[in-house]
C-alpha cells in the first residue's frame, strides 16, 4: 500500500465518524454509535501502528504533501503532514489512549441522552488532535490547535443545561484564546523572519542563526504563550480545574492525556528554535517549576476527586516544561507518554468511582471502596504508584529522567522539583486512601447501589494499568541495563538541537543512584505520612467553611487566584463596560440617535397642518409653485 496514502487516511476516519454521527446523532441507534465512535479511532490506531513500523521509510522524505493549500505572493502553505518519530509517537498516544477512552465512554455515557452527540464531538477532537501532531507546518498545526480548543469547549459544556458548566466552557475557551494570540503572533514573526512556515525550512534556516538571537527569543516566547494557554501553566492555568465540569472521559482524553500536552509537543517540535533562545528556556523553566509546585500544593487540600487530578495534571505538565527547559526533550516526551497512560487511567478510575456512587465527586463522602470496586481499586493503585514515582512503574523512570537532567543543570532546581514530587506522592496517596480505604462515609442509599463498573469500562482500565506499569520500559536508563530505546527512537528529531546544547559532564552512576535513592526515600516517606494521617488514624475531614490555619486556608482557596483575576481583570472590564454603557451609550449615542428621530416627528407634527383638506388651497399652492419655478428659471 502507498505509504503517503496511509498517512492521510489516519485523520480521515475520525472525521468521517464525526460527520456521520454529527449529522445523524438523533436517528442513529445507540448500538451503531457504540461501534462507530470507538471504531473510527481504532482504525486510525491500526494505521498509526502501520506508520510506526514503517517510519524508517519516511526518513528520507518526512514531509508528505497532499496539495497546496494557500499560495499567494511569497506565502506558500502546502497541506502537508510530517512523519517522523516524534509525530508517530504522538499518533500512537492520541489514537491508542483515545481508543481506550472511547471504549470506556460506551459504558460511562450509556444512560446519557446526548450519547450520539458525545461521540461526534470526541471523534472531531481526535481528528483535530491528529491534525495538530501531523501538521508539517505551523498553520496546519494551528488548525488542529484551534480545533481541539473548540472540541474542548464543546465537551466541557456538554451538559449545557447547567449554567456553571457553560461558564467553565467559556472560561476555557477564552483563556485558550489568549494563548492562541501568542501562537498566532509567533507564526507571523516566523514568516517575517524565515519567509516560510514549514517546519523543515524554518528549522533549516534557524540552524544558521546565532545563539540568543533576539528575533528567535521573541518567536519562542510568543509560541510559549500559546503553550502556556493550551497546557494550563501559570498564569493561564485556572481554566483546567474548571474544565472538570465535562464528562469524565473528556477529562481523561482532552484534559489529561492529549490536548493539554499539545504545548509540550509544540516546543519539542520546535526544539531547535528553543535551544537557540536561552532566555526563553529560563522563562519556561521558571514557569514550569513554579506551576509544578503551585498546582501540587493546591491539590493537597482539594476534596473533589476530579479537581485533585486536574491540579495534578497541571503540576505534571509543569514537570514536562521544566524538562524541556533544560533541553531534556526526550525526557519531556517520555514523561508526556507515561503521563498519558497513568493520568488517563486515574481519570477513568475516578469516573468509575463517580459512576458507582451515582455522581458523587467529594472524597469526604467516599471511603472503603476497595472491596466494592476491586478492579477500579487495583488499577487506581497502579496509577497512583506510577504518578508518585515509585519504581518499577513508569512514572518513576520518566520523572527521574527529568530530575536527573535538572540536577546536571543546577542542584537547587533539583531540590525544588523533588519537593514538588513529594507533594505529588502525598496528595495522590491521600486521594487513594480517602477513596478506597477505611469505611464508607456516604449515604445508605449510595452504599446500597455500590457496584463495580461493567466490563466495557474496566477493560480499558486494565489495559491502561498494564501500560502505566510497564511504560517505563520504553526508555529504561542504562543504569538498569536498559537501552534508552525511546531516546534512540526520537534522536533524529532532536539531533540538530543536541549539537547546540552544551553537553554537561555526565554524572557518575553512583551519583545517579544516590539521587534516585533520595527521591525514592522522601516519596516513600510521604506515602507513609499519608497512610498515618488518612488510614491509621481517623482522617480529619472538615466541612468547606471550617476554620483552618491561614496558610492552609490560602491553599484550600487556591491562593485566591480566581478571585485575583476577578478583581484585576473581570471587574475592571465589567466596570468599564458599565461606564461605556451608561455614559457613552445612553448619554451620547442614544441621545443623538433619538434626537434625530424626535426632530423628524416634531417637524412632521408641525407641518402636517398645511394639509387643510381645501382643494382650492392646494391648487393655489400648486400654481404658486409653478410660478416660483418659472421665476427661478428666468433668474438663474
Amino acid at each position: 500500500m502507498n505509504l503517503t496514502f496511509v498517512v492521510f487516511l489516519i485523520p480521515i476516519f475520525p472525521l468521517l465518524g464525526f460527520l456521520i454521527l454529527g449529522m445523524g446523532f438523533r436517528s442513529i441507534p445507540k448500538k451503531v454509535t457504540s461501534i462507530l465512535g470507538p471504531g473510527t479511532v481504532l482504525l486510525s490506531f491500526i494505521f498509526s501502528l502501520f506508520t510506526f513500523f514503517n517510519v524508517h521509510n519516511f526518513a528520507g522524505s518526512p514531509t508528505q504533501t497532499l496539495f497546496t493549500w494557500i499560495h499567494t505572493g511569497s506565502l506558500q502553505i502546502p497541506f502537508a503532514f510530517l512523519i517522523d518519530p516524534l509525530s508517530v509517537l504522538m499518533l500512537l498516544i492520541v489514537t491508542g489512549v483515545g481508543f481506550l477512552i472511547h471504549v470506556y465512554s460506551v459504558g460511562y455515557m450509556k444512560e446519557d441522552p446526548g450519547y450520539g452527540r458525545f461521540f461526534a464531538y470526541m471523534n472531531l477532537f481526535v481528528f483535530f488532535m491528529l491534525l495538530l501532531v501531523l501538521g508539517a507546518n505551523y498553520p496546519i498545526m494551528f488548525i488542529g490547535w484551534e480545533g481541539v480548543g473548540l472540541c474542548s469547549y464543546l465537551l466541557i459544556g456538554f451538559w449545557f443545561k447547567n449554567h456553571d458548566y457553560n461558564n467553565a466552557a467559556k472560561k476555557a475557551f477564552i483563556m485558550n484564546r489568549i494563548g492562541d494570540l501568542g501562537f498566532l503572533l509567533g507564526m507571523f514573526l516566523i514568516f517575517n523572519t524565515f519567509s516560510s512556515l514549514s517546519f523543515d525550512q524554518v528549522f533549516q534556516q534557524a540552524k544558521a542563526m546565532p545563539m540568543g538571537d533576539p528575533t528567535i527569543i521573541a518567536i519562542t516566547l510568543l509560541l510559549f504563550i500559546g503553550a502556556v494557554g493550551k497546557s494550563a501553566q501559570i498564569p493561564l492555568y485556572t481554566w483546567l480545574p474548571d474544565a472538570m465540569a465535562g464528562p469524565t472521559p473528556v477529562s481523561a482524553l482532552i484534559h489529561a492525556a492529549t490536548m493539554v500536552t499539545a504545548g509540550v509537543y509544540m516546543i519539542a517540535r520546535s526544539n531547535i528554535l528553543y535551544v537557540l533562545a536561552p532566555t526563553t528556556m529560563s522563562v519556561i523553566g521558571i514557569t514550569g517549576l513554579a506551576t509544578a509546585l503551585f498546582a501540587a500544593s493546591i491539590a493537597i487540600f482539594q476534596n473533589d476527586i476530579k479537581k485533585v487530578l486536574a491540579y495534578s495534571t497541571i503540576s505534571q505538565l509543569g514537570y514536562m516544561f521544566v524538562g524541556l527547559s533544560v533541553g531534556a526533550f526526550t525526557g519531556a516526551m517520555f514523561h508526556l507518554t507515561t503521563h498519558a497512560f497513568f493520568k488517563a487511567l486515574l481519570f477513568l478510575g475516578a469516573g468509575s468511582v463517580i459512576h458507582a456512587l451515582g455522581g458523587e465527586q467529594d472524597i469526604r463522602n467516599m471511603g472503603g471502596l476497595r472491596s466494592k470496586l476491586p478492579k477500579t481499586y487495583w488499577t487506581f493503585l497502579i496509577a497512583t504508584i506510577a504518578i508518585a514515582g515509585i519504581p518499577p512503574l513508569s512514572g518513576f523512570f520518566s520523572k527521574d529522567e527529568i530530575l536527573l537532567h535538572l540536577f546536571e543543570h543546577s542542584s537547587l532546581l533539583w531540590i525544588i522539583a523533588v519537593v514538588g514530587s513529594l507533594m505529588t506522592a502525598f496528595y495522590m496517596f491521600r486521594l487513594l486512601y480517602l477513596t478506597f480505604f477505611r469505611s464508607f462515609r456516604g449515604t445508605d442509599e449510595q452504599m446500597h447501589h455500590l457496584h463495580e463498573s461493567p466490563r466495557v469500562m474496566t477493560t480499558p482500565l486494565i489495559i491502561l494499568a498494564i501500560l502505566a506499569a510497564f511504560g517505563g520500559l520504553l526508555n529504561l536508563p542504562e543504569i538498569f541495563n536498559g537501552g534508552n530505546s525511546l531516546s534512540g527512537f526520537l534522536a533524529p528529531v532532536f539531533a540538530d538541537s543536541a549539537v547546540l546544547v552544551t553537553p554537561e559532564t555526565p554524572m557518575s552512576l553512583s551519583t545517579e543512584l544516590l539521587l534516585m535513592g533520595i527521591t525514592l526515600i522522601v516519596v516513600l516517606g510521604m506515602v507513609f505520612l499519608a497512610y498515618f494521617r488518612f488510614v491509621k488514624n481517623e482522617p480529619e475531614l472538615l466541612p468547606d467553611g471550617a476554620k483552618r490555619p491561614s496558610l492552609v486556608q490560602l491553599m484550600i482557596n487556591k491562593y485566591y487566584i480566581d478571585e485575583l483575576y476577578d478583581y484585576i481583570i473581570s471587574k475592571p472590564i465589567l466596570w468599564l463596560s458599565k461606564v461605556f454603557h451608561e455614559v457613552v451609550e445612553i448619554r451620547f449615542i442614544d441621545r443623538l440617535v433619538n434626537g434625530v428621530g424626535n426632530m423628524v416627528v416634531w417637524t412632521g407634527n408641525t407641518v402636517r397642518f398645511i394639509q387643510t383638506g381645501n382643494v382650492g388651497f392646494y391648487m393655489f399652492i400648486m400654481i404658486l409653485g409653478i410660478i416660483l419655478i418659472l421665476f427661478l428659471n428666468i433668474l438663474i
Partner: protein, 105 residues
C-alpha cells in the same frame, strides 16, 4: 397652406396669455368642479393655439402634430375628470369642491 402672416405673432402671444390667465383664475376662484374642469380645458386650448401659431410662423408642422396629441390626452383627461365629478355628485349631492375637505392632517 395660406399663412395668416397679416396678424403679427405678438397678438397671438397676448391673446393666449390672457386666455391662459383666465383659465388659471377660473381654477383658483371657482368652487364648481365642472367650471374648474372647463377652466383647465381653457388653459390647454390656449397652449394649443400658441403651438399652432408658432408652427405656422416657423413653417414647422411638428407643432401642429403635437397639438393633436395634446387634444387626445385632454379628451382622455376630461373623460376621467367628468366621471369623477359624476361620482362626487352621487355621493355628496353637490359638485362644490369645498365639500371635499375630509382628507386632511
Amino acid at each position: 397652406m395660406d399663412i395668416p402672416t397679416n396678424i403679427p405673432i405678438q397678438y397671438y402671444l397676448v391673446f393666449c396669455s390672457v386666455l391662459f390667465s383666465i383659465g388659471v383664475i377660473g381654477v383658483l376662484i371657482k368652487r364648481n368642479a365642472l367650471v374648474i374642469l372647463m377652466s383647465i380645458e381653457l388653459m390647454i386650448n390656449s397652449i394649443n393655439l400658441l403651438l399652432a401659431a408658432f408652427s405656422a410662423y416657423n413653417n414647422d408642422p411638428a407643432g401642429q402634430i403635437f397639438v393633436f396629441f395634446i387634444m387626445v390626452v385632454a379628451a382622455a383627461e376630461v373623460a376621467i375628470g367628468l366621471a369623477i365629478v359624476v361620482l362626487i355628485y352621487r355621493t355628496t349631492h353637490s359638485i362644490d369642491i369645498n365639500v371635499l375637505n375630509k382628507l386632511k392632517w
